[in-house]
Symmetry: C2
Subunit: 226 residues, 2 copies
């Protein structure tokens, strides 16, 4: 049996713990209690302790948590104690922006290839990486070990390219295309849907503005009606 599955909600919070602990580490803080961390992060201390205890007891009664140790342990849980080889499929603006983002390299995500279908881009290099044509993908994947493929292309091409990637052994896709990929369930897909994020923003703007308008009076508006 595998370890008991950890809920998605917990996993989502781990990178944020990791970030805060990293900042504490940088500012020289040695230990921290769930209560102090709770104050800083604006989550309950109870949640912090529950979350961490999914993975083991990292703290010590009466003391709290050692920042350096906890940071490192969460890093391991997140799989940041190794390197990953990543390719970017779709070398448009977003793909190039990702390729240029040096912070990923620092965390161990090495970009080793850039691909596109547009012949105009062929041979252009981004941070020393030449843009290759999509048809070279199968060959490239045979010759290089690649753990992650970022998909940064229009949804029309995304599904097709995803299939090519999977056929050639890719097991993890970071999907920026505005579509849901239907892939074998042993392939991990992490979606970043920017337009959906923006729509959540516009929802909140509209809601605010409606709330500011005088509420229409329907006469009978008692929700807990007798």
């Amino acid at each position: 049996m595998e370890d008991k599955a950890i809920s998605r909600a917990v996993i989502k919070r781990l990178p944020r713990y990791y970030r805060y602990l990293g900042e504490l580490l940088e500012s020289g803080v040695e230990r921290i209690s769930s209560n102090e961390l709770s104050d800083r992060m604006q989550v309950t201390a109870s949640q912090i302790r529950q979350d961490l205890n999914n993975f083991g007891g990292f703290g010590q009664q009466g003391y709290g948590y050692n920042v350096k140790y906890l940071h490192s342990e969460i890093g391991k849980i997140l799989g940041l104690d190794r390197t990953y080889h990543m390719i970017i499929v779709g070398a448009g603006n977003l793909g190039q922006a990702l390729a240029n983002y040096v912070q990923f390299e620092k965390r161990g995500f090495l970009i080793i290839g850039l691909f596109d279908v547009n012949p105009v881009l062929k041979g252009i290099t981004v941070r020393g990486i030449p843009i290759r044509m999509a048809e070279e993908l199968p060959d490239f994947l045979q010759k290089n070990s690649v753990e992650i493929a970022a998909l940064t292309l229009p949804k029309a091409n995304a599904k097709e390219m995803a299939d090519v990637l999977v056929e050639n052994g890719i097991k993890a896709i970071w999907n920026f295309a505005h579509t849901d990929l239907r892939l074998p369930k042993d392939v991990i897909v992490e979606n970043v849907h920017l337009s959906e994020s923006l729509m959540q923003l516009s929802y909140n703007i509209s809601r605010r503005e409606q709330a500011r308008e005088p509420a229409p009076d329907y006469g009978d508006n008692d929700e807990n009606s007798a």
Copy 2:
């Protein structure tokens, strides 16, 4: 009183409904039942009906939902029946990628300004929009109505710039910086933390790989111990 608050979980799902309905509309489908939609979207029909009924009864018993009508209603709920003026603060790779992304314009998000602190970028234009210096921001915000500011700069500058934006009346921030902005609570913040998304991916990769290894035998591993 405002309308009863809708849970964040529901709001997060709305853009996805909107996308599927848009695709159905394009392919000429006129009506759809919660069951059919459930099949396509891989969520329960019950959840679809519950979600929609937070906003009113859009369907008809025995018939289902009219695709065009439902699409349009969800669009209105998401605030997509109007335009927004947006600026991008941080004209690096990511900022420029966002500025170049024409799809946003189609949805009514008009980018009317680009700002950066780096003098090297001054005057460079992206899709006809000149990059301005950050110190011009207050003046620009006085002279233009801007609803949304995208923050695409390093966290070191992000907090400071966010304060400037808020002082000058910005009420909605689309935050790509790897930090949590602490702003007055009437300011809406929508975070896109790419590195945290990537860490969720690496977590899943590591977990898979561990699961594939032979489980260490601890002798006593019955979780429901007697």
